[in-house]
């Protein structure tokens, strides 16, 4: 059989090229333009703020909304951004302005930092964000607030509805609160898991609290009961932090939720 000159069969997959791509992707999981960058706000004493006693981290959705509603967040001290801020259109610029990851200091309490994350961080990018945040801030204790859906819980057939608060913690965390654990074999994934894993690997005390979202028609929404579930952890906070927390009314929670809810942008509905 004469097989020379060798002709490339264009119909066949190029396994070598695919393998090279996979190796490159594994070495650089986050594209350059997506990598986070930490920066302190001007005039902030970075050294004094870098080792807070407590970091409260609210992730997009219920966690961030609860912290924004409960605490007076007036003094930003740092923020994380994506490296490339250049956007293509006015629409993208406007959307980008709403998506921030800002770290605030409590009034009169530089030992407590509150981080509000409203960026959409994909699970693949989450480790990079965890690395960047904790490379600049080394809290003694971390509390992470996030949410979960009924689909994430593998348990009995009982319908579960908000309010419902569960937790996961690192081995070094304080064991005193009475909030039930997130049941095995259910999993938490995404940025919450990445941040908690980072802290667990380094044996630092941290607790992740997740509140149940309401599920309706296949959609998962934050409702006032979801936010109210987080109020259970306020008594467990240090006294000076709990004192700064307000207890918003149902109307205030509803206003906070509707301010971030997707608004119907067209005029079909009245």
């Amino acid at each position: 059989m004469d097989v020379w000159p060798y002709q490339v069969d264009l119909g066949v997959r190029d396994f070598e090229a695919e393998e090279l791509e996979e190796i490159e992707a594994a070495q650089n999981p986050t594209p350059e333009e997506e990598r986070p960058a930490f920066e302190w706000v001007a005039d902030v004493d970075a050294k004094a703020r870098a080792t807070p006693a407590l970091l409260l981290l609210g992730l997009p959705g219920a966690g961030a909304l609860f912290l924004k509603s409960t605490f007076q967040l007036q003094k930003p001290v740092a923020r994380l951004t994506r490296q490339t801020e250049e956007k293509k259109s006015i629409w993208e610029n406007q959307k980008a302005a709403e998506k921030t990851f800002v770290i605030y200091e409590l009034p009169d309490d530089p030992t407590t930092l509150i981080a509000i994350c409203q960026l959409d961080i994909t699970p693949e990018q989450s480790p990079a964000w965890a690395n960047e945040l904790f490379a600049h801030i080394a809290p003694k204790t971390t509390i992470i607030l996030d949410s979960f859906t009924a689909n994430q819980i593998r348990q009995t057939n009982d319908d579960i509805t908000p309010p419902m608060l569960l937790k996961l913690r690192t081995s070094a965390a304080d064991k005193s609160d009475k909030i039930p654990f997130f049941p095995t074999p259910s999993l938490v994934s995404g940025p919450a898991a990445a941040f908690l894993t980072w802290l667990q690997v380094r044996q630092l005390p941290a607790t992740l609290y997740v509140s149940l979202l309401e599920t309706q028609m296949g959609r998962h929404d934050v409702i006032t009961a979801t936010l109210r579930a987080f109020e259970q952890l306020l008594p467990g906070l240090p006294p000076h932090v709990a004192k700064s927390a307000t207890k918003p009314s149902t109307a205030e929670y509803a206003k906070a939720i509707s301010s971030v809810a997707q608004k119907a942008t067209h005029h079909l509905y009245l």
Partner: protein, 260 residues
């Protein structure tokens, strides 16, 4: 869910008509409307949507008359509301011609609900994506408030809400509604319930009041703002009273612990 949600006339194995339930989702996209019944008055309050700069606001109406003595508001798809309102108006006039009497509020509500139900049981059509609140007075001079929804259900209410954040408003109404409220209290309750969810305040609230003379009167913006200012004053006084009570209670606790 897949396979049973695209056809209207097909039940799912667990008894759902998904198109009807999806129509209820369309209702939730509309701005909130609330109805409150008092002793001899019935009030409709709606959250006004911001009108586009170049749009004529007179052509965007959320509160409409069906007949001289019956008024309707809706939440959901505007175009569906227009079609249903036209059908209802024709029925009102047809009834007057045939029976030589105006429709009762219950009759026209039943008619509207019947039309909505018909569109949940036919092929080639879809349900109306609106819920309605219907108010009016019959010859008995008793205020009436009815609600219909895309499934064709209708019922009478003392106070009801539809549209966006209706659940929050309904919970507020359940806590604060009293029977036999006078005109001012009924208007105040309607405005207070909308202020629970309307972020921008009085300027985005419209109130229509019908008394036992069956005349519908829309309050001016200044009247709504005056009531809103009164409500805010009452809320501030209430908050001050609560803080004072808390302060007295903690002072008393401090004294008793120092005495012991």
């Amino acid at each position: 869910m897949s396979g049973y949600d695209s056809a209207l006339t097909v039940f799912s194995p667990d008894g759902h008509l998904f198109q009807v339930e999806y129509a209820l989702e369309a209702v939730r996209k509309g701005t909130c409307a609330v109805g409150v019944r008092g002793k001899d008055v019935v009030v409709l309050g709606v959250e006004k949507k911001t009108v586009a700069k170049l749009q004529d606001p007179r052509t965007i109406r959320k509160i409409t008359m069906l007949d001289d003595h019956v008024c309707l508001t809706f939440a959901g798809l505007q175009a569906d509301a227009r079609v249903l309102i036209n059908k209802a108006r024709i029925e009102c006039q047809s009834h007057r011609l045939t029976v030589e009497d105006p429709v009762s509020v219950e009759y026209i509500t039943r008619y509207i609900a019947g039309v909505q139900q018909k569109y949940t049981q036919s092929g080639g059509v879809r349900p109306f994506g609106i819920s309605t609140l219907i108010i009016g007075f019959d010859a008995d001079k008793v205020p009436k408030l009815y609600q219909t929804d895309p499934s064709g259900i209708y019922s009478s209410w003392k106070a009801a809400s539809i549209g966006r954040s209706a659940k929050t408003v309904r919970e507020f109404l359940e806590k604060n509604h009293k029977d036999d409220m006078d005109r001012d209290d009924t208007i105040k309750l309607a405005i207070r319930s909308l202020l629970e969810i309307v972020q921008t305040g009085a300027k985005n609230i419209e109130i229509a009041v019908m008394g036992n003379d069956s005349v519908l009167r829309t309050l001016d913006a200044s009247e709504v703002e005056a009531v809103t200012a009164l409500i805010e004053k009452e809320n501030a006084a209430e908050a001050e009273k609560k803080n004072k009570k808390k302060g007295d209670a903690s002072a008393a606790a401090g004294e008793s612990s120092s005495a012991s």
